[in-house]
Symmetry: C2
Subunit: 273 residues, 2 copies
Amino acid sequence: MAPKLGIVAGAGTLPAKLVEKCREIGRPYFVLAIEGEAEAATVADAPHAWIRLGAAGTGIKLLKEQGVVELVMAGALKRPSLSSLRPDWRAAKLYAKVGLRALGDDGLLSAVIKELESEGFTLVGVDSVLTDAVAIEGRYGRHKPDAQAEVDIAHGFRVVEALGSLDIGQGAVVQQGVVLGVEAIEGTDALIRRCGEWRREGPGGVLVKAKKPEQERRADLPTIGPRTVELAHQAGLRGIAIEAGGSLVIDREQVTALADKLGLFVIGCRKPA
Amino acid sequence: MAPKLGIVAGAGTLPAKLVEKCREIGRPYFVLAIEGEAEAATVADAPHAWIRLGAAGTGIKLLKEQGVVELVMAGALKRPSLSSLRPDWRAAKLYAKVGLRALGDDGLLSAVIKELESEGFTLVGVDSVLTDAVAIEGRYGRHKPDAQAEVDIAHGFRVVEALGSLDIGQGAVVQQGVVLGVEAIEGTDALIRRCGEWRREGPGGVLVKAKKPEQERRADLPTIGPRTVELAHQAGLRGIAIEAGGSLVIDREQVTALADKLGLFVIGCRKPA
């Protein structure tokens, strides 16, 4: 049987999906829930402990006591301000080593992963546990992009590639050739809502999400779910394009049914080489 | 004396500044105010006409009747949707030629300028009329960036360079190494407000503005004014860095006084080569 899985739980529904999966396949697990990020419902009936993001030493100790060997990090973690972090000695040592001051999210996550591995943990990606959530190549429902949407999707992938190479974000919205909005710290939901306010008449825009070129695959893959489709519809978008193989679709059946019902396309695309 | 200046007026205070300048130096002028964009106060006491953005033929005819030879385009123009544009035959011909469908703002503006020049107009930049508004290199007031702010400014210029090369936008906000937000269609004011909501504790962020690498210099240079300083202060930013020689500071004295009073730095930087 697979070894006990340690789930480091940030925001969103992804950690709950991992818990669900572990139960389904009868795999033992333990949730390390990050205060201010993880949802209480995620851990309610699961073996778990809450820790501050800055309490790396406590977290490592807890995981070892629980006999966790394999670890997965799931869900968004807002990078906190340096002053609010209140690192314990273990975290402080790490931050000093990686030079937190000049790091973006990627750099920080890679450093955290390296450090956890030096403690003897094996880090795995969410996609290796939720294998059926990895975005396929092709359509999720019956709607498909027209010629204008194809142009917007291609431009969106170029934009997200540029954003990603600077560790800025994973998403953008393009309508009729114009970049309506670009995702940074605010996340995809806020991006979509904002672009609803800035949309122009005529054919709606598309949301494009892709992982950053240098992104540590085991941290924070681009993710969409039914809620993303719902928000996209409310904002007048015509569809969503995600990186096939490099992003996650949570609740695939619901996503497909909702997209069909609301008239949106959802499509997985290989990133242009 | 300088020839009559045609002022194509979009949104914001820039067109009014041009009118003010023409009066000050006794230069004749005529304002072509774009409906839905230009402010009524700008043209109230000025010789002017209103036109739809799509009415290129009417606009050209009016300017020629007025004996305008030199033209300046000032203030933001939101690129409208294709369907709302309702181009007259002259505009339609242009759009067909440039392939509007796949164009961003830069491409569109360059095409418009080229077309106007083929009609015999000479296009000049706002900076060649408002010469004293061109951003200097160095500080505008007494406050200056500290070491963290210097790091954030340098990163901000890298981010804006990447955005600009994709014709996305001219601004970004960076705090403690993290890109809080990136400007697309929403403009700088909305960017600043949003970043106020996403700021973290500790030293505040910086707003960085620079023109796009390929930007047509005669169209839409990055601009700040007293209002930008006020909004930046409200959003908890510590300062503003703009591209020296490549952006405009409107009402320099007010900008400086306000920055000094509110404790912000405003600094013009040569873009790193």
